[in-house]
């Protein structure tokens, strides 16, 4: 049975080149460092994948990057040093959370600006209208609607 299983496992190994996201052999012995590695992995893009973090990806490149992150961590790098190292090597493309800088200013400030701007505009408009405007009357009915209304009203009169 064992031999069959082993043979089959070998077969699967040949048939399935795809690796899996974080693999058992990658895990670091120090749980604290491993946790840091996982945290960093979630912020790093697997560059050959379709918008996946290296923590999620099966690609060989993602595995290489995961190992690289762990290597840097064992070498004593801080989280930001690891990120700097990877950015120096692969460019900003590798960061899933873009840095706050000139090119990404608009991206990061969009939400607060829209929220404040939109809120202010709305508040002013509501206040202005509350001061000046009165309820505008509904537009007059078209001839067609008048006819329908009349029909409905006569229905009403009959049924009640």
């Amino acid at each position: 049975m064992r031999r069959m299983m082993a043979a089959f496992a070998l077969l699967m190994l040949l048939a399935l080149p795809a690796a899996h996201a974080v693999q058992p052999d990658e895990i670091m012995s120090d749980p604290a460092k491993e946790a840091r590695a996982r945290e960093l992995s979630r912020e790093l893009r697997c560059m050959v994948c379709q918008n996946q973090s290296i923590d999620d990806s099966d690609a060989p490149l993602a595995r290489d990057l995961r190992l690289l992150v762990r290597e840097r961590i064992s070498a004593g790098d801080s989280n930001s040093q690891v990120l700097d190292f990877l950015v120096a090597r692969y460019g900003e493309f590798v960061l899933l959370k873009p840095r706050f800088e000139r090119q990404t200013l608009l991206l990061w400030l969009l939400a607060p600006l829209l929220l404040i701007g939109g809120g202010l505009a709305l508040w002013l408009q509501i206040r202005r209208r509350a001061k000046t405007g009165a309820d505008t009357p509904a537009p007059p009915l078209t001839a067609e609607e008048e006819a329908r209304l009349a029909a409905l009203m006569s229905d009403d009169a009959k049924s009640s």
Binding site: N51, E92, F93, K97, A138
Partner: protein, 660 residues
């Protein structure tokens, strides 16, 4: 023959759509009822022909007619029947055909059930529908014909992408398309209103049920897709902020805003211009989604096609419709009169806040999706925007929104009493605080944000319950009276409560899953035991099995807790011979709302296998929430006020209406 008939039916549908694009508008100009009524028959005939075309493609797939390129590329004679059928829309051409079929279905529904619409409005709406339909029929016929034949038919097909061979494909795309395309109706109504220069509360009343239908399907479609990704992709993630997911989320956010602003318009005749704009934006975002997925501009697991001509064609459609409708809006919007007045603190004010937050959230997603693309083209700066960005920007917006949700339905129209509402929400607030304390104590410090978020979720749920309790007067009047009142409550009130509670439920699920998810990654041999979240998971053995069009390796795990056997879990890896690719079939064990999740990695030569075991606490709440929301939508839809073409209301019984 079938392929040619299908193709011909599609050409005929295009012809009908072209007639429907023009004739009703001439009729409306001339006030000619007969010409305007043409729209009705053409819409129904279009539905018939597109339906026939779709059925033809389904038949080709079921019959495994490999002389048709589309069937050859996406099917296999050994494929189970279900996947032969679902495979029809598991590819670019077929999914576009499904898209137009659903468009024709909605057009047909308006034609069939729009008897109570003013004639000219119906003519305009159906004409606009026909513009959209014509554009997409042309797109299919010119660039993506699913009925193309192969000169020398191969003997066997290339099979469907294994990841798509799942029941999820049967449900997810049709639901999603019903949502996307359903928003075309509110778009058409908006354009019709702009062209006629006439819009009133009745308009909102006609638009709301259609928007609601689309929203319900989109909600379920997104939730379904998320659950599918969760169990199929094998690492237990359920939302990736993938561009294509964002493409479905944006119309959902805009559509949710639209539902709420249409409510204000219907009840108070206010926010007209804004509602029109939202109708246009919602469908534009649906189109944008189609463009992003179909053009290959953004690579993603969902993108089938990377053909530049298709991209350019869709981009043209996109510019035409979005540009055209927005210019029309810019030209005509000022002529629309503003309606009812309201104080900032009022139900209207709350709904405006809802709209503000949802639109900003939508803009964040839109920017996050397109910004890297723009930066690469304009500044030659390659960057990525992923989950960590959205967690930082999107999440706070939604937290604000959720904080405001319980207040909305309890504020009075026109001028609300915030202090009074706060007093009435006291119990809900206390419930939230208690939940925070409990979560804090249970997690003993740990994550600080998670208990707060759970408290927020509980507050939203308790707020929804409070609203119903207040409306029925459960705390003040005898139970029988309250029960009577509860029955008399409009269904839409129940719908609101369910939908809002669903938000809270989903939030709790999301927080619990992301914060207290435990995982165990290891290489396991036979009889090895993994311990995770109190469960003992023992690997009993590996064996293999032959499926219809794949081979699979199954691992059998025995799950027990405190020595008591609970269940057997059998995750597997399938390898599909035709495509030479494989899928991971995770095994899930549901305990309450929590799940144990096992997926397999690679096997070693010595018979050991890499295993990932997750315990995901309360993970199912993530999807129960949207189901509750959709259920709330259905309740609201069944409210007699909204029923399209409802027969005369029964006036005999005086229904108890709560003071609003």
């Amino acid at each position: 023959m079938i392929a040619e008939s299908g193709h011909y039916a599609l050409v005929l549908a295009l012809g009908l759509a072209l007639i429907q694009s023009i004739v009703p508008l001439i009729g409306a100009r001339l006030h000619d009822a007969a010409l305007m009524n043409v729209s009705r028959s053409t819409a129904l005939a279009q539905l018939l022909f597109v339906g026939a075309s779709f059925v033809a493609l389904v038949m080709l797939h079921v019959n495994s007619d490999f002389s048709v390129a589309n069937v050859y590329e996406n099917s296999h004679s050994m494929k189970p029947l279900l996947y032969k059928i679902t495979g029809v829309w598991g590819n670019h051409e077929g999914s576009m055909l499904l898209w137009v079929s659903i468009l024709a279905l909605f057009g047909g529904l308006v034609a069939a059930f729009g008897n109570n619409l003013p004639l000219s409005l119906r003519a305009h709406v159906l004409a606009v529908q026909a513009w959209i339909a014509s554009a997409f029929y042309l797109f299919i016929l010119v660039t993506s014909n699913p009925f193309l034949r192969i000169a020398n038919p191969p003997i066997e097909g290339r099979d469907l992408n294994p990841v798509l061979q799942d029941i999820g494909l049967a449900v997810h795309p049709p639901m999603l398309y019903l949502g996307y395309v359903g928003f075309s109706i509110s778009f058409s109504f908006a354009i019709a209103a702009l062209m006629e220069g006439r819009i009133d509360a009745a308009w909102a009343r006609w638009v709301r049920p259609w928007t609601l239908v689309a929203w319900i399907f989109l909600t379920l479609g997104i939730a379904m897709g998320s659950y599918w990704a969760y169990y199929e992709l094998g690492w237990g993630g359920w939302w990736f902020w993938d561009p294509v997911e964002n493409a479905s989320l944006m119309p959902w956010l805009a559509g949710t805003a639209l539902l709420h602003s249409a409510l204000v318009m219907e009840k108070r005749n206010a926010l007209k211009v804004w509602t029109i704009l939202l109708s246009i934006l919602t469908f534009s975002l649906s189109l944008l989604g189609t463009f992003l997925v179909r053009s290959g501009v953004i690579t993603s697991v969902h993108a089938f096609a990377t053909d530049p001509t298709r991209g350019v064609f869709i981009l043209l459609i996109l510019c035409l419709f979005i540009g055209g409708s927005l210019s029309l809006f810019a030209g005509r919007a000022t002529s629309l009169k503003q309606g009812g007045l309201f104080a900032p603190i009022s139900r209207e004010g709350a709904l405006v806040l809802n709209n503000l937050l949802l639109t900003v959230a939508c803009a964040v997603v839109l920017f996050g999706t397109l910004y890297p693309l723009a930066m690469e083209m304009l500044a030659d700066f390659k960057m990525s925007v992923g989950a960590p960005f959205y967690n930082l920007t999107f999440a706070p917006l939604f937290a604000l929104l959720l904080l405001a949700v319980p207040f909305g339905p309890m504020l009075a129209w026109k001028r609300g009493d915030l202090l009074g509402v706060m007093q009435r929400l006291l119990a809900a607030g206390v419930a939230g605080l208690v939940a925070i304390a409990i979560a804090w104590g249970w997690a003993s410090g740990g994550a600080t944000l998670a208990p707060l978020a759970i408290g927020l979720g509980v507050f939203v749920i308790a707020g929804a319950i409070t609203d119903i309790v207040e409306r029925t007067g459960l705390a003040r009047v005898p139970f029988a009276t309250a029960l009577h009142r509860a029955r008399g409550l409009p269904r839409s009130a129940w719908g609101t409560a369910f939908a809002h509670a669903g938000l809270g439920v989903a939030l709790i699920g999301i927080v619990c899953e992301t914060t207290w998810n435990s995982e165990h990654i290891a290489t396991m041999k036979q009889n090895d035991v993994a311990h995770i979240a109190g469960y003992d998971v023992k690997l009993d053995g590996l064996f293999q099995r032959q499926g219809p069009n794949y081979r699979e390796m199954i691992a059998e795990f025995n799950v027990s807790r405190d020595g008591e056997k609970i269940s057997v879990m059998t995750p597997s890896k399938r390898s599909f011979t035709t495509r030479g690719s494989s899928t991971t079939e995770a095994a899930l064990l549901t305990r309450g709302a929590s799940q144990l999740y096992i997926s397999l990695g690679d096997a070693n030569a010595d018979g050991a296998i890499a295993v990932r075991i997750y315990h995901k606490p309360l993970v199912l709440l993530i999807w129960w929430g949207p189901v509750l929301m959709a259920f709330g939508g259905v309740l609201s839809l069944s409210d007699r006020r909204l029923r399209v073409g409802a027969p005369k209301p029964a006036r005999a019984k005086q229904r108890l209406q709560p003071a609003e």
